[in-house]
Symmetry: C2
Subunit: 197 residues, 2 copies
């Protein structure tokens, strides 16, 4: 009873993460009824992005050139390599202005439950990149989730086996954080990882 082009659109929208049949139907009706211009624009943006974006040869982030702006910047400290899961994480670290080295973006994390193993993220390329002779320290800045922690553990074993110095960003209370309002496991970790002054 539903026209086939509408059904095809609803099915096609389900490739979006977190979108099931109900939201896909709602999205399709919204686009067709209220925002056809937005829908056409979305179609063009998808095709344009697929056509122009590729991975930076050095750090694996998305870029339109062969090498991204950060990797092309001769001012950066080439001896430090910060490993993050996604380009958004890279941008968060950049915003802190606390790191002046280069990055490597895994484009994912190890997640056996979702079927994402070592071959599905850019581990091999990271190993090559970190073994270029210039990198001295690899800073692991994957998330502190179960998957991010597992990824960091796996990476640190691999990288240390190649004689690289490996570090992990710190866990602890947030700046301005009060003990009363922090969750017990973060507080426990802050205690275990206390620094001598």
């Amino acid at each position: 009873m539903t026209p086939s082009s509408l059904n095809q659109l609803i099915e096609a929208l389900r490739v979006l993460p977190g979108v099931g049949p109900k939201s896909a139907t709602r999205m399709a009706y919204h686009l067709l009824q209220r925002d056809q211009g937005g829908a056409v624009n979305l179609a063009h943006a998808l095709e344009y992005a697929i056509a122009t974006l590729r991975h930076c040869k050095h750090c694996n982030t998305f870029t339109e050139a062969e090498v991204c702006d950060i990797c092309a910047d001769a001012q950066r400290d080439h001896s430090k390599l910060c490993v993050v899961e996604m380009p958004t994480d890279l941008m968060m670290v950049e915003q802190t202005l606390a790191f002046h080295g280069l990055y490597f973006v895994l484009m994912g994390r190890l997640s056996p439950l979702d079927g994402i193993g070592p071959k599905d993220i850019a581990l091999e390329r990271l190993l090559q990149r970190a073994s270029d002779g210039e990198v001295e320290e690899v800073v692991l800045a994957t998330n502190f989730t179960v998957e991010g922690e597992a990824t960091a553990h796996y990476l640190s074993e691999m990288l240390r086996a190649r004689g690289l110095s490996v570090s992990r960003i710190a866990r602890g209370l947030p700046v301005g954080g009060e003990l009363e309002h922090v969750d017990p496991s973060t507080l426990a970790q802050a205690m275990v990882e206390r620094r001598s002054l």
Copy 2:
């Protein structure tokens, strides 16, 4: 620092209802990294749907032909017209097999807070459709939400002023429903709208 074609894609994804900057970013990375085929397919489905779908001349639902299958079916009872908000609602009513008349799809509901007034939904076309001389009863099957109720109220005033008989689908306990588990306002309504046996 984000490539412009990636930024454009993230912006374009925000036309989807319920998608803010964070989900749009997540969706863009997912499509680019894990499902480029799905992204291309989505682009094509959007363009194809926009190009082929239009509104049924009679009932206003989406169709690829001039008149949809239900409106084209001579077996249906032309004296009854069921008004629903969206095509999904039409399908829900169809599944019940309890209604054999025709439909009219508003493609929305009155919602002043979202800026959707009488001119933004197909009220004028409904008035014309209901005044064809064949329709005797208009069954209002908009949702029992605040907006759906307001729409039903507005429609019933308009349609009764034209001498049409107007009804509203019943409120009450669900089939198999237990008094203990139903919310108080539904139970109150079931009491107010009790039927004599």
